[in-house]
């Protein structure tokens, strides 16, 4: 197992956001966390790389207890793609190179530069490498953020709503890119998403959160109409397309 989350509780100001959350992710596996707005999806993601400190529970990444690690040590194991990407006056190359931060103090080596070049090729960003990211579109910016997480050499990637501001084509591009990276590089990935159909099309496993607890979890093919109706409180019908579930809201 790459990631083992067990009994995680998180809350503040006396309010419980997450209650006893448990999940596992294996190598080459992509897990999607689903649920209504404000249910704690992003909070769970931030607990996994200890940006937020859970009140109880354990989070193990490749057998190491994340909650006992220094931030830089976590960053060498876990890559994080935030939902918000600031548009700074930096080239895409430098922005990706920043992913080497957990491994370096000040000077970058030839190997760091080669690794960034490798990531740029994986992402198909060759033509944009020297462009400033404040001149880039949302889809391009998201690819740069994925590239930055890749050069961290993570065992696990966390992606918070990676397609929230993207159009259909860019959504498909980014998700298939993440899927390819997860399979080819044999890393684990956990992402939060709102778009059920995009999530079910690309992920291997799902977790539905409701009221800070895991409502249901399993392989993508196990998603049922009842689960979705209970979690989102609307009637749906599930069709199938290329062996993947396709959710159609009924009202």
């Amino acid at each position: 197992m790459i990631l083992e989350v067990d009994g995680v509780k998180f809350g503040y100001n006396g309010k419980d956001i997450l209650k006893n959350v448990q999940l596992n992710v294996d190598r080459g596996e992509m897990l999607v966390i689903l649920g209504p707005n404000g249910v704690g999806k992003t909070t769970l993601l931030r607990c996994i790389n200890a940006i937020l400190k859970p009140k109880a529970g354990t989070i193990m990444v490749e057998g190491g207890d994340v909650l006992k690690m220094e931030p830089a040590a976590i960053a060498r194991r876990v890559g994080y793609v935030a939902q918000y990407q600031a548009k700074t006056r930096m080239t895409a190359f430098d922005a990706i190179l920043m992913g080497r931060k957990p491994h370096i103090r000040f000077r970058t080596s030839e190997d760091d530069i080669r690794m960034v070049d490798g990531a740029i090729k994986v992402l198909g960003l060759e033509d944009l490498a020297m462009r400033h990211i404040d001149e880039m579109s949302g889809g391009e910016l998201q690819k740069v953020a994925v590239g930055r997480a890749l050069v961290q050499e993570p065992r696990l990637m966390l992606l918070d709503e990676p397609t929230s501001s993207l159009d259909l084509k860019n959504t498909m591009n980014i998700l298939s890119l993440i899927q390819r990276v997860v399979k080819e590089h044999n890393v684990g990935a956990v992402m939060t998403m709102h778009n059920l159909n995009s999530a079910l099309r690309f992920a291997d496993k799902f977790v539905f959160l409701k009221n800070g607890e895991i409502h249901s979890a399993g392989e993508i093919q196990e998603v049922s109409e009842e689960m979705i109706e209970e979690v989102y409180d609307i009637p749906v019908e599930i069709l199938h397309h290329n062996g993947r579930p396709l959710v159609v809201p009924l009202n």
Binding site: Y84, A86, R89, F93, K101, R105, F106, A145
Partner: protein, 356 residues
Amino acid sequence: MHLNHGEKHEEYSRYVGRKAALLAFSGIVLVLISLVSISKGAASLPIGEVAKALLGFDAAKRTELIVWNIRLPQVLAAIVAGAGLSLSGAVMQSVLRNPLGSPFTLGISHAAAFGAAFAVMIMGSGTMASSHVGAVTISNPYVTTGMAFLFSMGASGVIVGISRMRGASPEIMVLSGVALGALFTAGTMFLQFFADDVQLAAMVFWTFGDVGRASWSELGVLSVITLAASAYFLLNAWNYNAVDAGDETAQGLGVRVQRVRIWGMIIASLVTAVAVAFLGIIGFVGLVCPHMVRRLIGGDNRYLLPASMLLGAILLLASDTVARLILAPHLLPVSILTAFMGAPVFLALIIKGYAK
């Protein structure tokens, strides 16, 4: 993760080379302007003589005296203060992720002015002395300087304190700074209203930032603090880059964002406080220079910080040289000129389109 099919990126190497060349070029420009600046003034000296005097060769006694006792400390003060103020502005803009971050806009300079006015009014450190140029002097500069320093550090302490309570978000820091600036301006006006003519003149005189004011020992203190701060900031360049990219991204890269932000503010404030306490208020260098540099070479702090230092030094030194000559034989305080130049440059940057 295997990304080992990457190669040496020629275009990136050239891009980095261009930045390094620009830094080297700025360094050469700074040396040339320094030579010109030392040679120009009420008494014009030939550059060859200046070079001789600086290198310890046999130069005219009068040249040696002017160079070593008057011009060189002033030139070095302009270089160090310009570099320090610009560097502080660059770091503040970065850790606050706000284009308006600068010692001037965050109320730290205003707090220093209030401290100086407080020293003049309450502690009696200002008197009118009739010197050969008819200027007002501060009778007890150490008290005035000390109070200016204490109040500016106090102001940054309050900003940092409020941010610690409320989670060190950039917005809270900027808004606290703006509020403090307004408060200290009101305090200074209050003191000025009740001041007599001599005190009022001393207060106003103090606020005119002037690099000719520093003694060798003050210059030494300013240089040591600015150099130590620049080493600290450069070592943190990747941290500032990460914070620029957003708090969450930075945290995901293992950066302790709150710590980086608070220490960045404290040390940038310290550099500013020392410069302002010794030299008075010199506005706009800290605000405008980092913006100009960002446009020239981008926002990568590994290059932005040293380039901001160099451009700040060049800008303040050139301004001071012009200020010395423009109304000769009268000496115009450099702060008046930087404010006159800074505001239009800043407006031009905004109109042309701000790019962070």
